[in-house]
């Protein structure tokens, strides 16, 4: 296990390094400057500003400087928000993003599981069709459409929850709901087909033949085994939530990272683009790692110790 963790950690560091390098170089290809009044700057003023921020140096030198600072944990200063460090900006904005993301994921998974299980147990009934319809709708309609609908009907028409802004806990509910839609749909569809497959397995027939009562069969043998593959879904789902927050945060005025990320790309805030890219990649790698470990714990057939045995 220890060796496995170390190995994974080394891979993670390498992946991050490649992402940082690629982002850094790609960013240099974007036209324009990080100065917001580029339209008004003369060539000589721009040269002076470039010199001030070290942007006049060759890309290779800028890259090495950045990597050097990064290793020491220094992500630099934002161009747009003068005087703010990228670290403090991320620190300020990660809380709201993480909260609505987690709530969306947890709520979505629970509802998705319930829907999927119910529809598998009531296979080919109206209940099943209804939940399949919900799942298909959830998959095919983008989350920002749900966000707009939720905002209008629950926020404006009914006035039950805040329309937008980030004032108290109630403000988190609609964005989390909007984010959970994709999760509900994905999980429900997945668990339904897993359940149907497991229900047809020999060991289920055996369990029933042993005289086990039906709820025992369902809980102990069917659901538990059907759940295992769902864990693999959580990784990609968590990532889709991370990207989903970009739009949801904008709609609900959540002071989170996603909106900041798009903005910093638009205004070419180099250091912020790098910082948030780095964070997202690290989170992604971490999530994938956690899922791998969980998978090993849940399914005894998977051995984390040696890649060689396979």
């Amino acid at each position: 296990m220890k060796r496995y963790l170390l190995q994974r950690f080394a891979y993670a560091a390498l992946t991050l390094f490649i992402i940082v390098s690629a982002t850094f170089l790609l960013m240099q290809l974007l036209p324009g400057t990080p100065y917001s009044n580029a339209e008004k700057l003369t060539e000589s003023q721009r040269a002076i500003l470039d010199a001030k921020y070290g942007l006049d140096k060759p890309v290779a030198i800028q890259y090495l400087t950045y990597i050097g600072n990064l290793v020491q944990g220094d992500l630099g200063y934002s161009f747009q928000y003068q005087g703010r460090t990228v670290m403090s900006m991320i620190g300020d904005r990660i809380g709201p993003s993480a909260l609505i993301g987690l709530q969306g994921l947890v709520f979505g998974t629970i509802i998705g599981l319930v829907l999927g299980i119910v529809s598998a147990l009531r296979h080919n009934t109206a209940l099943d069709y209804a939940s399949v319809t919900i799942a298909v709708l959830g998959m095919s309609i983008p989350s920002f459409v749900f966000a707009a609908l939720l905002q209008y009907y629950i926020g404006v028409k009914l006035g039950w929850l805040p329309v937008a802004l980030w004032e108290n806990y109630q403000s988190t509910i609609l964005p989390s709901l909007a984010l959970s839609v994709t999760v509900i749909a994905t999980v429900a569809r997945f668990i339904r087909s897993e359940m149907l497959e497991v229900l047809g397995q020999d060991y289920v027939t055996t369990a029933r033949a042993k005289g086990l009562n039906e709820s025992g069969v369902i809980w102990k043998h069917v659901i538990r085994n059907a759940l295992i593959p769902v864990v693999t879904m959580l990784g990609p789902l968590a990532v889709s939530i991370m990207t989903g927050t970009l739009v949801i945060e904008k709609i609900f005025g959540v002071p989170g990272l996603g909106e900041q990320f798009t903005l910093s790309i638009l205004v070419l805030d180099y250091s912020v683009i790098m910082g948030i890219t780095l964070l997202y990649s690290a989170l992604f790698i971490f999530v994938v790692f956690v899922v791998d470990v969980l998978y090993g714990l849940l399914d005894p057939r998977i051995d984390l110790k040696g890649g060689s045995k396979a």
């Binding site: 974007l30 036209p31 324009g32 400057t33 100065y35 917001s36 009044n37 580029a38 339209e39 008004k40 700057l41 003369t42 000589s44 003023q45 002076i48 500003l49 001030k52 747009q80 928000y81 003068q82 005087g83 703010r84 300020d92 904005r93 809380g95 709201p96 993480a98 909260l99 987690l102 709530q103 994921l105 947890v106 998974t109 629970i110 707009a148 905002q151 209008y152 926020g155 404006v156 329309v163 937008a164 802004l165 980030w166 004032e167 108290n168 806990y169 403000s171 769902v230 904008k250 709609i251 609900f252 005025g253 002071p255 909106e259 900041q260 903005l263 070419l268 969980l294 714990l297 849940l298």
Partner: protein
């Protein structure tokens, strides 16, 4: 089992942890009560509180580094320079009580009025000297405003030839500031209302160090309002400054600003009375134009076509005039854009820049190069003959924004319909790229935008002189250069204004050097109970000093 354990215990625990660090703005105190007051409905007392919105957070509150209208807006309302823009966009004495000039108007002496910073320290002449030199020393993004103002040595300092200490500004004593100019400058007072010329208290700035202006408590106010609260990415609050010298004329007690990035959400917040003023996009106009609070406001930005004057055919004035006349601007603004924009037949927009006698620039110069498709065709035929060709294919450099793409397609249709043999290819690129292409003059036609630096027609006129960094089309007319040079130092304001009118005539009537298309506009939903929100053309576009709730 593990899976359940995770979802049962870990996730809620993590959520609780995050909840602790997620900066809710309301936190149960005054905030909710304020927004009710803001709508001024229900309670008859009409609290003097309003809630406004901005599209993003304040990039910086340091006036020497501020570079966008959101920062300028806050600075304009919490700070005050020697001059301030009044309700009719003219500048009037503010922190300065008295302004004396020497005979040739190159040495200006300002006497400051009694006013304290919000920490109780008096505002002194040293504060101005310190802040202005700081702009130059730190190469602030708007340091060229000091060059435009013609302050002695500003240009040399900007080009790093002279030390920032040599700037022509000196505190003679605590209340007397002396500013030396390179030459007399009729624009000087106008420019002094700009945020870059605000004072800063040296002791406070240095005490705060790299934390200066990063939080509400790290900035000082000396204007009509104080900056009382600032929640990153969420909003900020301005409260009436009781120590302001003109506090009796400030009616608002409090103005809250919330950050709203999605226009539809903004409209929804307006409807639920959480916010009193939101900006609409053109897609929302149809839906809300019958709303009581719907307003169309002229803005000061212009959109126009640049011609590459090196192009063998576009260098022909008849061709350029034909393009000018072939475009129906009304159709563009009323049918295509529908965002409050208005047709423009000149480079100086309407409604902001009055002559010393009080007449609008546009009114005085009228519509230039406005014509019918038939007139356009006459010039077109003549131009083609002169060029010895019978058709013309050119490309149009545009930014790939929704607005610009719509305009580009409209221009394509109009020009190809109205000018036989004209073919226009659209080349949409990211905004920054459009700018680079323009600066390198590697285009045929370019769809450009311009916003004013200061509240004077000159900001739209001196960009066309030979060698100006904003010319970007190799347009040269020595007559125009001469007129601009004349207006730059002419302190007889009536005469100067005549010269300004003349410059536009040379540019458009004589040369048809560019094709102005429209003046930008904004559409808002504004609570009808709010009165006297003053909108300015340049720098800060909002003044709350005179605003009130009915």
């Amino acid at each position: 089992m593990n899976k359940k354990w995770v979802s049962r215990f870990m996730a809620p625990a993590a959520a609780a942890l995050i909840l602790a660090g997620c900066n809710f703005s309301g936190s149960g105190d005054e905030a909710s009560g304020d927004s009710e007051g803001g709508s001024a409905e229900g309670d008859g007392s009409s609290a003097q509180v309003i809630t406004l919105s901005e599209g993003s957070d304040i990039p910086t509150m340091d006036s020497t580094k501020a570079h966008d209208s959101i920062a300028f807006n806050v600075l304009n309302n919490i700070n005050e320079g020697l001059y301030r823009q009044n309700e009719s966009n003219e500048v009037e004495l503010a922190m300065a009580e008295k302004h004396d000039k020497n005979e040739d108007e190159t040495v200006h002496t300002f006497t400051l009025r009694e006013q304290n910073w919000s920490n109780g320290e008096p505002v002194t002449a040293q504060d101005f000297e310190y802040a202005w030199k700081r702009v130059m020393r730190e190469a602030g993004p708007y340091n060229y405003m000091l060059v435009t103002a013609g302050i002695k040595n500003a240009e040399a300092i900007m080009n790093e030839e002279v030390d920032a200490e040599e700037l022509g500004v000196k505190a003679v004593d605590e209340k007397t500031l002396e500013v030396t100019l390179e030459a007399p400058n009729p624009l000087f007072e106008t420019l002094l209302a700009f945020a870059t010329f605000l004072p800063q208290n040296q002791a406070f700035v240095e005490e705060q160090g790299d934390q200066y202006a990063l939080e509400a408590e790290n900035v000082l106010a000396n204007g009509p309002f104080v900056f009382s609260e600032w929640q990153q990415e969420q909003g900020w609050t301005l409260e009436k400054n009781e120590d302001y010298w003109d506090a009796e004329n400030v009616k608002l007690d409090k103005a809250e600003f919330v950050v709203i990035k999605d226009p539809q959400s903004g409209a929804n917040l307006y409807e639920t009375e959480k916010v009193d003023r939101v900006k609409l996009t053109s897609s929302l106009v149809d839906q809300y134009q019958d709303n009581e609070g719907f307003t169309n406001e002229k803005a000061s930005g212009i959109v126009f076509l640049r011609f590459n004057h090196n192009h063998e055919v576009l260098s022909n004035a008849n061709i350029r005039r034909a393009v000018n006349m072939a475009i129906d601007r009304d159709g563009l603004t009323d049918v295509i854009l529908k965002d409050g924009s208005t047709p423009l037949y000149g480079v100086v927009p309407e409604g902001y820049y009055n002559s010393p006698e009080g007449q609008d620039y546009r009114e005085l110069n009228g519509d230039i190069n406005k014509g019918t498709p038939e007139e356009a065709q006459e010039f077109w035929t003549k131009g083609l003959e002169e060029a010895g060709i019978d058709s013309l294919t050119v490309s149009l450099n545009i930014a790939d924004t929704d607005e610009m793409k719509k305009v580009g397609e409209y221009l394509q249709a109009q020009l190809e319909d109205n000018l036989p043999g004209f073919k226009l290819e659209l080349k949409a690129v990211p905004f920054a790229q459009r700018l680079e292409i323009e600066k390198a003059i590697e285009y045929d036609l370019s769809l450009s935008t311009w916003g004013p630096d200061y509240a004077d027609p000159m900001t739209y006129l001196d960009m066309w002189v030979d060698g100006s960094s904003a010319n970007r089309m190799d347009y040269v007319n020595p007559k125009l250069d001469e007129l601009v040079a004349e207006a730059r130092t002419d302190t007889d304001l009536s005469n100067r204004y005549k010269t300004l009118l003349e410059i536009e005539k040379v540019l458009l009537e004589e040369d048809a050097a560019v094709a102005p298309l429209y003046q930008r506009g904004n559409t808002y939903l504004t609570r009808p109970s709010i009165e006297n929100l003053v909108i300015h053309p340049a720098g800060a576009d909002l003044s709350l000093k005179w605003a009130s709730v009915k």
